[in-house]
Symmetry: C2
Subunit: 653 residues, 2 copies
Amino acid sequence: MPTTGKLNLEPGKANEPKSGYHSQFSKNTEKASPGFYEVMLDDYGIKAELTATERVGFHQYTFPKSSDSHIILDLMSNIYNYDSKNVWTFVRVEDNQTVVGYRETTGWARTRKVYFAMKFSKPFKNYGRKRYEKVEYNGFYRKLNENENFPEFAGRQIRAYFDFDTEANESIFVKFALSGVSTSGAMKNLEAEIPGWDFNQIKKESAAKWEKELSKIEVETINENDKKTFYTAMYHTMMSPILYQDVDGKYLDIDQNIHNAKDFTNYTVFSLWDTYRALHPLYNIIQPKRNNDFIKSMLSHSKHSVHKSLPIWSHYANENWCMIGYHAVSVLADAVAKNTTDADLNKMLEASITSSNLKYYDGIDEYLKYGYVPEDKSSSSVSKTLEYAYDDWCIAQLAKKLGNVSKEAEYLKRSENFKNVYNPKSGFMHPKLSDGTFKKEFDPMDTSGQGFIEGNAFNYGLYVPQNVPEMITMMGGKNKFSKHLDEIFTTEIAEKYIEQNEDITRDGIIGNYVHGNEPGHHIPYLYNYTNDAWKTQNRVRNIMQKMYSSGVDGLCGNDDAGQMSAWYIFSALGFYPVLPGSDEYQFGSPIVKSAKINLENGKKLMIKTENQSEENVYVSKILVNGRQVKNHILKHSDIANGGEIVFVMSAKH
Amino acid sequence: MPTTGKLNLEPGKANEPKSGYHSQFSKNTEKASPGFYEVMLDDYGIKAELTATERVGFHQYTFPKSSDSHIILDLMSNIYNYDSKNVWTFVRVEDNQTVVGYRETTGWARTRKVYFAMKFSKPFKNYGRKRYEKVEYNGFYRKLNENENFPEFAGRQIRAYFDFDTEANESIFVKFALSGVSTSGAMKNLEAEIPGWDFNQIKKESAAKWEKELSKIEVETINENDKKTFYTAMYHTMMSPILYQDVDGKYLDIDQNIHNAKDFTNYTVFSLWDTYRALHPLYNIIQPKRNNDFIKSMLSHSKHSVHKSLPIWSHYANENWCMIGYHAVSVLADAVAKNTTDADLNKMLEASITSSNLKYYDGIDEYLKYGYVPEDKSSSSVSKTLEYAYDDWCIAQLAKKLGNVSKEAEYLKRSENFKNVYNPKSGFMHPKLSDGTFKKEFDPMDTSGQGFIEGNAFNYGLYVPQNVPEMITMMGGKNKFSKHLDEIFTTEIAEKYIEQNEDITRDGIIGNYVHGNEPGHHIPYLYNYTNDAWKTQNRVRNIMQKMYSSGVDGLCGNDDAGQMSAWYIFSALGFYPVLPGSDEYQFGSPIVKSAKINLENGKKLMIKTENQSEENVYVSKILVNGRQVKNHILKHSDIANGGEIVFVMSAKH
C-alpha cells in the first residue's frame, strides 16, 4: 500500500475515512481490463496501476512530491481473523531495493506457506517493521534495534514499511513474485518473468495473453451487453485453478515436500464439487492442454497424499475436505471420454478407486455397507449418496475404457445406489436411516437437516445425471416429472427456508430453483428428457437474461471458482454437459447470434443461428454439419472435429 | 515415551508421581556409555534402551504383557514455555509402522523447523492425536474424526499416541530420524543409516565410532578417577557443533533456503563466544577435518546471511546474537595459523571484515567511531572493546597471511583498542563514556553494570591475549601484575556480587576467579608472562583437581558447548591456547602421566612425565623432542609433526 505523510501502519476502519493507511477513492478513477487495474488513491494523490505475469505482480505507484512517501507491506492482513490465522512470518531485506520472505497461515488451507520476492525500482531511504503480537521471548535480539533498518525480521504479526523521497509525478515500480517453494524460488520467478522495468510492455503482454485466451471463443450477440456478459464469464472461468509451480519446475505437494514437475505443469485450487459440473467440461473444449495438466496435478496429489486419494478441494498443498463427493473422478472420466488427456489411465483408475473407498471420509464406510449413507450416521446423507453414485458411474467409465470388466460392473452397481434413497411414498429422494426406514419428519423445501447440503429435496433430489430416464420412471414418468420441474420454478420459497449464505444472492432464485448454487445447474436441462424440451429452451434463456450481466451484480451467487460462469458459456452457446464423464451434451437455446470456437487442434466449430432475437428463445431445428438433430444430444466429437451447428430460432415452441 | 495401561497424554508433574505419563525410575537401573543409555521405567515395567547413528535415534522398549501398551509422541514438550514457543506441527501417518512430520518452534532459534521420520518395528493397532490449543477455525475438517486413526494432523499443540498389544518381554523398536530439510530428507536419513532392525549391531557400531574418536588421545593417569574425568571431558567436547545436513548433502541455511553441500559437511550450533577459546583449538589437533567443515559451514552461513557476516551464535539456520564479539574470525585465524583448513582465504578475510563492521550489532558503529565502545552508548562496553580488539588481531593475521598489508595494518591498529579502555587511575580496564571520561561510579568486583558481561573488571579486564606483555606493562609491570593475579585467586567475592546464574555453580569460584564461565579461562596461564610461572602450574593443577570430576557434579559451570571440557583436555596435557589465532600454546602442568595423541595425519605426539604425582605439580624441565624449552611456549608445529614432550615434575618450584 503506497502512502504519503506521517507513517501509519494501522489499516484503519472502513467506515472511518482517514483512520488508517487505507485510502478513499472514486469509482470514476478506476480502470480495469484483463491484466490491468488502475485507481487514484485520493487520500494521498497516488495513482496505483497494477499488471502481472503468471507468477509476478507488477505495480506502478505515481506519487506527488513528498519527502515522506511510503510503501507498506502488510503481512498481517488476512481474510477473517488474522490473529488466529497468521502462523509465522519471515522477512529479509536483501538490499535497498530487494525484499524476500514468507508468510505461513492456517485456515482454509491448514498449513499454507506463501513465499515472496519483491523488488523496488528505486532504493528506499529507510525501512522498518513493527511486530504486533506479544513477544514472550526475545533472547539476544533485544540487543538489536530491529524496528528500523534491521534487515531480517520474523514473528507472527508483522507490518513493514519502506520510505522514499518522491518528486511530483514520480513513479515507483514494484515487482512482487510468489512461490510455494522458497524465497529463492520466488526470486527466480521474478527474474525470469519480469527481468526489466517496462511496466507498459508487461501490461501489453498481459493484455495479449488474455486476448489470446478470451478469443478461444469469438461470439456475435444480439446486443452489446450480452457480449460483455459473455467475455466477463470467459474471464471468470480462467481465474482458477492457479499455477502452483516455480519457473524451474519445483512445486510443493500435499506431503509438504518439494517435487519436480517433469512432464506437466502443477496447479492448485480445485473446487471440485463446483467445477466438475461444467467448468472442467468447458476446459475440455477451450483449454484441453491445461485441463490435462490439472489431471496430472491431481494424480501428483494422489501419489503424495497420505490417503493416496484424489483431491476433494485442494488448496496450496492442502486438502480442506470442502463439500461432498470425490468428484475428481468426474474430471478424469470426462477427459477420458473426450480424449483430451494422455495421463496414465491405470493410475487414474487406481486413484479413483482409492478415493471412492476412503472409509473415514464423509460416510463412505456406511455408503459401502448400506448402499446409501444413513442420515443417522452421517448428515447430508442424500446429497452424499447421490453424488457418490454419480461419481461411481464415472469410475465405471474409466474401468470400461481399460477393459476392466469386474471394476466396471462393481462401479455400475454402486452407481445405482441413488435408488436406495428414493421414497415412493414421499415421491422424493428422502433421508434414510441405518435401520432401513425413511426419516419421519421430512420437509422437501427445507435445506437444513433434511439430508441435503446447500439444497433441498426438490432441487438436489434430482441429481442422477448418470441415469435421468430411470430417475424419471422412478418418479412417476415424464409428465409427472415435467410437472415436478414446473413446481420447482414456480413455487415461491417461503422466507423461513432461505439460508443466509454468502454463496447465493436473493436474485439467484426462481421460484424454488436456486441458480446461485451448483447442485441444480443441470435442472433447467432436464425438460429435455420429458416431452417438454421447449421448457428447457425457455428456462435457460430466461436464466441467462435474468441472472447474468456485466455489472457489479452480474452473478447471482458465488462464482465458485468459475462454475457459475461456465454454465453461462455453455448455455450461451446452446448446449450443456448434463453428464460429465460422457461424451454427450444436451442442447438448450443459444443466446449468441453466432460463435466461432477456435480449438487447440486448429479446427473451428461454427455456431450459427437463424431468426435469433431476444424473443425467439425456442429452437425449431438444429443442424449439426447439415444433419438434423432430434434427440437434443450433441456429441463431443462434433465439437472436437470442428464443423457447424445451426440453430433455427422461433418465438413459438 | 512408552507406557502401559489407560492412555494418559498429560506429562504430569515432577513432584507428583503417577500424575501423568512420566515414569519413576531408579538410578540403579541406569546404564550409560557413549552411544547408549538404558533405564527401567518402574511405573510401567518397561525397559528403555537408546542408541543412535549420526542422524537417527534407535529406541528399544521392552514391554510387559499388555493389551494396552502405548508409545507417546509428545510434540508439545519443549524447554521453558511450550505455549508460546510451538509455532506449528504437522504429522502424517504413512502406514501402520511409519510416521513423518515436523515441528516449528520459536525461541533460542527464532524460526526453527525440525522434520522427522519414525518407524516402528511392529504395526500399531490404533493411533490418534489430541490438539491442545484452542482451534478457532476448523473448516470442513470438522466432518472428520481426526482424533483417532486419521492419518494427517496439524496444529500448534499436538500429542500423538500409538497403541500396541505386547507379550511379556516383547521389544518394540523405534527408529527416529531428524532432518532440517524435509520429511523426505528425514526418511532418506533413516533408510540410509539404519536400514534394518538390529539394535545391538547399531549399538556396537555406535560404541566403535565413539571409541575411535575418544581414542584420538590415549592417556595414562595418576589415578583411575583422572582417567574417567579426562574421557568424560573428551566426550563433552564432541557433543556440538552438530551435523546439520541430510545424507544426500542437502541442508537448510540461514536464508531459510535449501542448499546442497558439495565439498563439505554442514554443521550448526556455534557457541562461539565460548568455543573459540579452547574448543576449536582442540579440534585443530584432534579433529582438524571436522573443524575445516565447521569453517566451511561458517562461510556458507556468511554467504547466505543477509548481513554477509559470519555466525555469532548460530543455531539451526538461525542467528541468535548470543553474547558479544565476532569470534568466528578467531576460529578462522586459528585454523589458518595451524594450517588445518583448505577453505578460501580470500573469502575468509572478506567475511571477517564484513563481520567486524556490522554497525547495527552491539556497538560496533561506536567502536569504529571512538576506538572503544562507550558505556553510555552500548552496555558491557569494556568486554566488547576487549573482545573486538582481540578479534581484530585475528583478522590482521588473516590479512597478513594473504599479504594484504593495508588490511593487516588497519586491523593491527584496531587490535590496540584495548588501550583505550585502560584507566591508569583505577588501574583497571574501566568503562569509558562517549565524552572520553571514565565512568565515575565504578566497582571492579561487580559483574553488573560495570562495563562487563558475565565477569568483572578483575577477571574480564585481563582479556588482551593478543598482547599480554603490553597489558602487563600498562598495568604496572610483571610483579604488580602477578600480585593482581594473586588477588584474583585469593579475594573472596562478597555475597552481593554473586550472580544467580544458570551458568556457574558456587563451586566454580576460587576467590574472585570464576572458572565456571569462560572469560577468565586464560587467567591461570597469565603467570607465565610474569616471573611466577610456577603459580600457573600450581593453579591449573588445583583447578583440574577441584573443578572437574566424572561425577554428576563434575563440571563447575555450564559446559558451554564443550569449552569448559576443552580447557580440561588442554590443561591435562600440560599446555593451553592462550592466544587462538597464533600457532603458540602456553605450557602449564599436565595431570596425566603420559598421553599419546593420534593425529589425523597419522603422526603421533607423545607426552611423557617424569616424577608425576598428585603432589608434584611443578614442572622443573620441559623437553620438546629433546630440546629444552625455557619460555613456556609450545609451537603448533611441534604437535602437528608428532614427536615427544617430556615434563619433569617436582614437588617444589
